[in-house]
Structure formats: structure tokens, C-alpha cells
Amino acid sequence: MFFQVRLFRGLFSPYVAAHQLHKAEQIHGIWTRTSMILAISLILAGISAFFGIGNESLSKQIYDVSAAEFENMKALFAVGQVVLSMLITTALIFFPALVFWVFTDIEYSKLVVIGLLTAAISLLEKAMLIPFQLFFGLDEASSPFGLGVVAQYVTRLEFLIQLLGNISIFSIWMMVLHYLYLKWTTEKKNGVLLLIVLSTNLFIWIFSALFSYIKFEVML
């Protein structure tokens, strides 16, 4: 039988979907769903960039350049932001899938389906963050959904704050989803799966925190 990728079903009835996935021999709709996810990623990033979210580093140049040039700079910056967002989404889909494929015997395409689901969650998080970023000027590390806020009260270490900020309701959901799907589609021991899932997600969080901590943009 074949498995039709349906994101809502996959997210909210994971047990049923996982078992169907496990039993399926063919998977339909991966590329359409992938394009859809990427399209949504593009749109969300576009909206966010359009409002200038994240372009504080350009603001001081408002006195140095003409109005037209200033807007142009922001537009180009926005292009970069959108590209980054799409790259991240792509990585979220395919990288964990790759790791899981190495450590388990599940077909890669099935793991990509899991990747699509988790990517959808991350997009949901991004969408819910936009109002907070726009109206309250909060950055990702100060998301009300994550541990970054508490971290800022507890420590002064920037890296730690970024790391804890990456641990949010949504990222934990993603991790849980990884675990459940793997559990229901493979024979491997739960303990092993837990380890794999934890380390993969942890790796992602640390990598993301590093990327935020090292301000690459000042090099340009």
C-alpha cells in the first residue's frame, strides 16, 4: 500500500500515520509536500523580512545613505534572510533524515516524511513568533515559547542563552515526533532511539546557537 503524505494527519494522529508509514511500500506526495513546505518557508521569511525584523544592524546607516539606497539595502538584506530561512528548512527536512538513515534501517524517503513533519512544526513556530517580534521587538532568543527568557535572568553567557533559547515548546515537540515515529517504524530498542534522537536535536540546537553567537555578519 502506499502512504499519502498528509501533514495534519501526520502531526496530530502520529500513531496512525506512523504505522501506515511503516507498512507502506510506496510514498506519494513527497515532492509536492516538500515544495509546499519550502514555499511556506519563503512566504513566512518574506513577511518577516518585509517588516524589517532582524535588520537592526542596517538601521544606523539611515543617516549615511539616501532613502532609496537605504530601502535597497534592506531589500537585499531581506533576500539574504529568505535564502537563509529556506536553507534552514531544507536542512531540517533532510539532515535528521540522513542521521536516522545511517543509524536505522528505515528507508530514506520515509525519514524524509518525518523531516517534512518537523519542518512544518518549525514553520508554525516561526509564524507564531512574528507578532512577538513585530509588536514587542523580541528576538528569537527571547521567544515566549522557549527557555531563552529564563536563561537571560539566570546567566550572562550569551552562548548559553542562545542554546536554551533554541529549546522551545516547538523544538521539543519536534524531538518527540522524531522519537515516536522512529519507535513505531523500526525494531530498534527505545533506548538507542532516544539517544539518537536526543543527540541529533541537541546537535542542531548547538549548531544553531553557535551560528547566532558568532556574529558572522560583521565580517561583511
Partner: protein, 395 residues
């Protein structure tokens, strides 16, 4: 299953509540950026606060000429309504009361003398009658002497009569002389202008003369009368005038036009003196527009009133951070406010600032209308890639 779901939801709820509290509490440690959607500039300019009113052209001066009823006999008016008169020109004639009184007294004397004359003539007649009767009476040795005494008395009376008649003649002559020398006196105009009104019934003022020069009169209400003061410059306009006229407020009345009444708006009159009289023909009574310069501030820093919130402005700092600055307001003209406190021309301030914090880094949305395709093509490729790269690396 339900219990698990509820605990999860509870934990999520708790986390959210705790986070929101920590974010929004006073003296929160969470740094927030400021979204600045619109901004405006601090400009250096002249501010003029004017008030627009309307007024009406009236003669600058009016002269009222009076005639005292008892000062003589009014003879005639020498000018007519609407006629132009020069300064010093005679307006009307009258004969003064002195000579009339003199003549009257002469005439009274004559009357008295006439009566005396009559009395004397009667007396003489009586005496002559007695003389005749006595001379035709008995042979009386004393008859002749009586007749003689009558004659003597008659002569005396006749002599007195002669004197009285001479007096009468004298007075008649005097009257003639007085009447000959009777000069008519005139009253002249004190200024050049036009005869506005003549009272043929001799109601005072008998003649009203208005000047050619004009001024403007207008009306102020209770609030305006406190704002407008003498000396303020005024620009006068009319569709009948090719150019604006310049003038100054010459007076603002302290008392209202009509007696103050409860719950009725009081009105106050004010006048504007013209610097130069209009060269084109414009009628007295024409309605004109007035622009009164109430206050002025030259070369001052100004900002839109929409940029001010609770006496502060939010300056877009050159370091990329918002600077909250308390300001002192000066003159306000419409939506523009004079800044008395420190500031620089060209500084950018947030428009309609809402919830902006001091020292917050600010970000601005992309204003599509200001994007320029041509500017983009002139940008060196290196620059283009640099900005894209910065967006790519910022997280």
C-alpha cells in the same frame, strides 16, 4: 491519555505565563527592539502663527462739524452731500448773534423813544388846547401871563420832542450802519475729504466729512480679543486688489461692542491701519480678508507634533538605537512645533511613537515606494552581494 495531555498543556501554559511575566514586568532584563514604521525629520525653518479674519474698509478719519443753535442765524450750506472738499473749504454760513442783539436793542430803544415822542406830542396838544381856551376867556388881568406860561411850557415840550426825534433818528442810523456791516461768518472743513452727510434739519453734527484715506475694521470674539494685540502685522487681501496690502493692528477695543449679556458671545472691534493706501479703486465698505501675524519664530528647529509623545521625542540615533529625549515646546503653528530644547537639523525622529524604549535598537520595514531600480543597477555588485550576505548570516 487525557491526564498526560492535560499535564503537557499545563506545563506549556506555565512556561508561557512565566515567560510573559518575565518579559513584560517592570525593569525586565529582556532587551527589546523597536519597530519604527514611519519617521520624520527635524527641520529648521521660520514659523508664523497667523489668524485669518475678515474686515471692512472704512474711512480712516471722520470729521464732525457742529453748529450751536444760539450762536446766530443759520444762513445756508455751501456744500452738498458727496462733494469733495479741501482742507479749509467753507461748509456753511451763519450770521453771528452779537450784531443781531445790538440791532434788537437799538430797536427796543427806538420803541421806547417812540412812546416818549407820543407822550410828548399828546402833552403839547393838551397845552395848546388849554392856551386857546384861556386866551378866549374873560377879561382877566392875569390872563396874559397865564397864556404866556402855557406858551413857555409848550416851547419847552416842543424842544424835548425835537430831542427825542433826534434820538430816534440816531438809532435808525445806527441800525442802518449795523446792518451794512453785517458780515456772514463761515465754518470751514478741518480736513480734505468727502462730505458724507449733511443734516438739513440742523441736527448736530450738521456736516460729516470722511477722509479719502482708509483703514480696516473688524470684529473679534471673546477668545480672539486676548490673542490679538496692537502692533501685529497684517496682510490685507481682496479680489479687487491685485496685490496684498500691508498694515498693522492699530487698536483693539477693551470694551465689547454692545453691552455684555449673560450667555451671549461678546464681540470686540479692532482696527488695522494701512501702511499704504491702495492704488487701485476699491470702495469704502468693501469686505477684505485679513491675515494677522500673531506670533513668529525665525530659524528655529521644528518637528511635527505627531512625533511628540508626552513631551518627548524619539530620535533615531546614529548608533542604531532609539534615543528618548524630553523636549520643550515653543510656538505651535498647526501641526508644527518649535523645539526650544537641544536638537539638530536633519535628525530623524519616530512618527507617532508608541511604546518605544530608550536605547532600544530599532528596525524599519521595507518601504516599497522608496525602492529604486535605477539605484540598484548603479550599486556595485560587491555591495549587492555584501548586503545579501549580511542577511544570510544574521540569525
Amino acid at each position: 491519555m487525557n491526564r498526560k495531555k492535560w499535564t503537557v498543556l499545563a506545563i506549556i501554559g506555565l512556561l508561557l505565563a512565566a515567560n510573559l511575566f518575565l518579559i513584560f514586568k517592570k525593569e525586565s532584563k529582556i532587551e527589546r527592539a523597536a519597530y519604527i514604521g514611519e519617521w520624520t525629520e527635524v527641520k529648521e525653518q521660520d514659523l508664523v502663527l497667523s489668524k485669518n479674519k475678515s474686515g471692512v474698509l472704512v474711512p480712516a478719519q471722520e470729521e464732525y462739524v457742529y453748529y450751536q443753535a444760539g450762536s446766530g442765524i443759520f444762513e445756508e450750506f455751501l456744500v452738498s452731500e458727496g462733494e469733495e472738499v479741501r482742507s479749509g473749504e467753507a461748509l456753511f454760513e451763519y450770521s453771528p448773534v452779537d450784531i443781531e442783539a445790538t440791532i434788537s436793542s437799538f430797536e427796543a430803544e427806538i420803541s421806547k423813544l417812540d412812546r416818549e415822542k407820543e407822550a410828548l406830542e399828546d402833552n403839547i396838544d393838551d397845552l395848546e388846547k388849554l392856551e386857546r381856551t384861556t386866551s378866549f376867556g374873560d377879561d382877566n388881568p392875569y390872563a396874559d401871563s397865564i397864556v404866556n406860561s402855557f406858551s413857555a411850557e409848550i416851547s419847552e415840550k416842543k424842544w424835548e420832542l425835537g430831542k427825542v426825534e433826534a434820538e430816534i433818528d440816531k438809532y435808525n442810523d445806527l441800525i442802518d450802519i449795523a446792518e451794512d456791516g453785517l458780515r456772514s461768518l463761515t465754518v470751514d472743513s478741518g480736513m480734505a475729504g468727502v462730505v458724507k452727510d449733511i443734516s438739513y434739519e440742523l441736527q448736530n453734527p450738521v456736516v460729516t466729512i470722511t477722509s479719502h484715506d482708509m483703514k480696516v475694521e473688524g470684529v473679534l470674539d471673546e477668545d480672539e480679543v486676548l490673542e490679538i494685540a496692537e502692533g501685529m502685522e497684517v496682510a490685507i487681501t481682496s479680489n479687487k486688489l491685485p496685490e496684498k496690502l500691508k498694515g498693522t493692528v492699530s487698536s483693539v477695543s477693551v470694551n465689547p461692542i454692545s453691552d455684555p449679556k449673560l450667555d451671549e458671545e461678546s464681540q470686540y472691534s479692532f482696527t488695522v491701519e494701512l501702511e499704504e493706501q491702495p492704488e487701485t479703486l476699491i470702495p469704502v465698505g468693501a469686505n477684505v480678508g485679513l491675515k494677522i501675524k500673531v506670533a513668529e519664530a525665525q530659524d528655529v528647529l521644528t518637528v511635527s507634533e505627531k512625533a511628540i509623545r508626552k513631551d518627548s521625542i524619539f530620535v533615531l540615533g546614529r548608533d542604531g538605537k532609539v534615543q528618548k529625549r524630553e523636549i520643550e515646546k515653543g510656538l505651535v503653528v498647526g501641526k508644527t512645533v518649535e523645539l526650544i530644547s537641544e536638537g539638530e537639523e536633519g535628525e530623524l525622529v519616530a512618527y507617532e511613537p508608541e511604546g518605544l524604549k530608550n536605547q532600544a535598537p530599532y528596525f524599519t520595514p521595507i518601504n516599497i515606494s522608496k525602492l529604486s531600480k535605477t539605484e540598484l543597477t548603479t550599486m556595485p555588485k560587491k555591495e549587492i552581494l555584501r548586503y545579501i550576505g549580511r542577511g544570510l548570516l544574521t540569525k
